[in-house]
């Protein structure tokens, strides 16, 4: 297998290895001629002489004019007493507490929305870099996150009461990065992914680790694998005895990667594969009673492109009784990144929509009982990995 640097150099050379012919004069002149004849409509310039246009642009303009007409018609109907606007969506009273998520604003940030249907505010601004993969502490007083500074990533913990962050892991040779941490149920251990520098001809590798906070000891609980095919997003079972994670692999001759959910004991050891590779499952999360795992199919950032239908599923930890809770049929809308609410009655997830290559992601709440879906955070178009805070005394 060729390494990253060689691949990059090959792509550079291949893309430069094209003639840099100028745009054909006739088509350039036709486009400029089209621009010369325009009309101004509501701040937009619309061409008038549609007949002389190339077909694609002509169709676009006709569609725009039809759209303007429809907007005017709808507005007129509303003014004439059309049915009133439906009331804003309500959220079932599934959980109390704040919602934690990652957002994008000139870089990745971590934000907290104080209640459902509110806007979030940034936290952990005292740490430089992109902030990713946020996770609540079991008592809801702290937040674990990854601070990524140009690939050199470390885990930090933010304390809600003080508003301050402190490093959880110190990553030095052979460690290259620590990512994707989650607390054990008693808060005394943290499972995470560590990237290790190349120790032999196999190059850098990644492994799951567990940090024992009282002693500061870090132990590897999985084999070192190539980071592109690594184990990801470790999540503790409610009794702390097992860890669920997902693994990505790329079989020889198959251009599309595969993914599956696995579990192992907290000390490592024998793995149990929960889902079949063909399901392409990822992002597992344990139900609060430990009787089910929620997961998604075709995790959002590992599977991009046409024909990936992402949905939220639940399955028993022994791999039986797999049920799809959402039924999105293709990649225009996808449901990924499930996290159970503390009371086990709902699952937050990321609903993404691909708009001509631009991805909008919104946090939603899925009721496990009736499968109703409601928005939970307002004021952002990039909200991912949302999770609900555990609050003492909450239902």
């Amino acid at each position: 297998m060729i390494d990253d640097r060689t691949l990059g150099e090959l792509i550079d050379a291949w893309l430069l290895d094209e003639s840099d012919a100028a745009m054909p004069d006739d088509q350039l002149e036709m486009a400029l001629a089209t621009c010369r004849t325009t009309m101004q409509v509501g701040g937009r310039r619309l061409p008038l002489n549609l007949g002389s246009w190339p077909r694609p642009a002509r169709l676009t303009s006709v569609a725009l004019l039809v759209l303007l007409g429809l907007v005017a018609l709808v507005t007129a109907l509303q003014l004439a007493g059309a049915p009133p606007t439906p009331p804003p969506p309500t959220v079932p009273t599934l959980s109390s507490g704040s919602i934690l998520y990652q957002d994008y604003s000139n870089g990745w940030i971590i934000a907290i929305a104080p209640t459902a249907l509110s806007s979030g505010h940034e936290i952990a601004g005292d740490v430089a870099g992109d902030h990713l993969a946020p996770a609540w502490s079991p008592d809801g007083t702290r937040v674990l996150f990854t601070a990524d500074r140009s690939g050199a990533a470390e885990l930090f913990e933010y304390t809600i009461e003080t508003g301050l962050s402190q490093p959880i892991t110190t990553c030095s040779q052979p460690c290259r990065a620590d990512r994707e941490g989650s607390y054990s149920p008693d808060g005394r251990s943290i499972a995470f992914v560590r990237e290790l520098a190349a120790s032999d001809e196999n190059g850098a590798g990644c492994a799951l680790m567990v940090l024992d906070r009282p002693s500061g000891a870090i132990a590897s609980i999985s084999q070192v694998r190539a980071c592109a095919d690594r184990d990801r997003d470790p999540r503790w079972s409610p009794d702390g005895s097992e860890i669920a994670f997902w693994r990505e692999r790329q079989e020889a001759g198959n251009d599309v990667p595969e993914a599956a959910i696995l579990t192992m004991g907290r000390e490592g050891g024998s793995e149990r594969q929960i889902t079949d590779w063909s399901l392409n499952a990822g992002d597992p999360d344990w139900a609060p009673d430990g009787k089910q795992l929620a997961f998604d199919t075709f995790p959002l950032f590992s599977f991009q492109g046409p024909s990936f239908a992402s949905n939220i599923h639940v399955v028993r930890p022994d791999g039986t009784d797999d049920q799809a809770l959402t039924t999105f049929a293709h990649d225009v809308k996808r449901a990924t990144q499930p996290r159970w609410t503390p009371n086990g009655e709902g699952i937050t997830f990321t609903l993404s929509r691909d708009d001509n290559g631009a991805l909008a992601t919104h946090l939603q709440l899925l009721s496990v009982m009736d499968r109703r879906v409601s928005p939970i955070v307002l004021g952002t178009h990039v909200a991912e990995f949302g999770s609900w805070q555990a609050v003492a005394g909450a239902p």
Binding site: M1, I2, D4, L7, G8, E9, L10, I11, D12, A13, W14, L15, L16, D17, E18, S19, D20, A21, A22, M23, P24, Q27, L28, M30, A31, L32, T34, C35, R36, T38, G43, R44, R45, L46, P54, P56, A57, Y104, G107, W108, L132, A228, Q250, A252, G253, N254, D255, P257, F301, S302, F303, Q304, G305, P306, D354, N356, G357, A358, L359, V382
Partner: protein, 184 residues
């Protein structure tokens, strides 16, 4: 007249300024379009659509200094549309003829070029655009994200996915080929 001045004048409706601006940038837009779509005719149509869209929407551009990235975003959208239009008539797409190569300036052999071409064509336009803007235009992933209106993380993951596809194509080619590969 600097670029930003041309942009301001064109945004106010100055046709001469707009045509000067487009003649400055049409070559770059076309080159990027060719690399994304892998077809000269399709790239010319996409660039044509992009030029008209640039004229239509130029009054909405707030910062003239960001014209180039903004124009690339419009071009990529035109490439997406052009790709969809041509998908039904795929048989008419003309494969790019490989240009003459020399030992001095090219570090890529025929087999790798074919594998990259095959792997690249299997990607959708959104992924191709990230590869071209990053590897050909030399943009950082943050810049790519800004141009395409996507988070840096999304740009990163698209590039990662594209690399996997391209690496897979090259590896598959290497495994299937038992004959020694010759430089062209």
């Amino acid at each position: 007249v600097v670029n930003a001045d041309l942009v301001r004048l064109a945004a106010r409706g100055d046709q001469v300024a707009f045509e000067s601006l487009i003649r400055l940038h049409s070559g770059e837009l076309y080159s990027v379009g060719v690399r994304i779509l892998r077809d000269h005719d399709a790239a010319a149509d996409a660039a044509q659509d992009a030029i008209v869209a640039i004229w239509q929407h130029l009054p909405e551009l707030r910062d003239p200094d960001r014209f180039e990235g903004w124009a690339y975003r419009i071009l990529v959208r035109s490439c997406v549309s052009e790709s969809r239009r041509r998908r039904a008539a795929i048989a008419n797409v003309i494969r790019l003829a490989p240009p003459p190569t020399t030992e001095m300036d090219i570090g890529i052999d025929v087999a790798n070029r074919d594998a990259l071409e095959r792997g690249f064509r299997a990607l959708d336009v959104a992924h191709r655009a990230v590869v071209v803007l990053h590897h050909y235009r030399g943009m950082t992933l943050r810049e790519v994200g800004e141009v395409l209106g996507i988070p840096t993380g999304t740009a990163y993951s698209r590039l990662h996915y594209a690399h996997r596809q391209l690496r897979g194509a090259i590896d598959a080619d290497m495994r299937s080929s038992s004959r020694p590969r010759m430089r062209q």
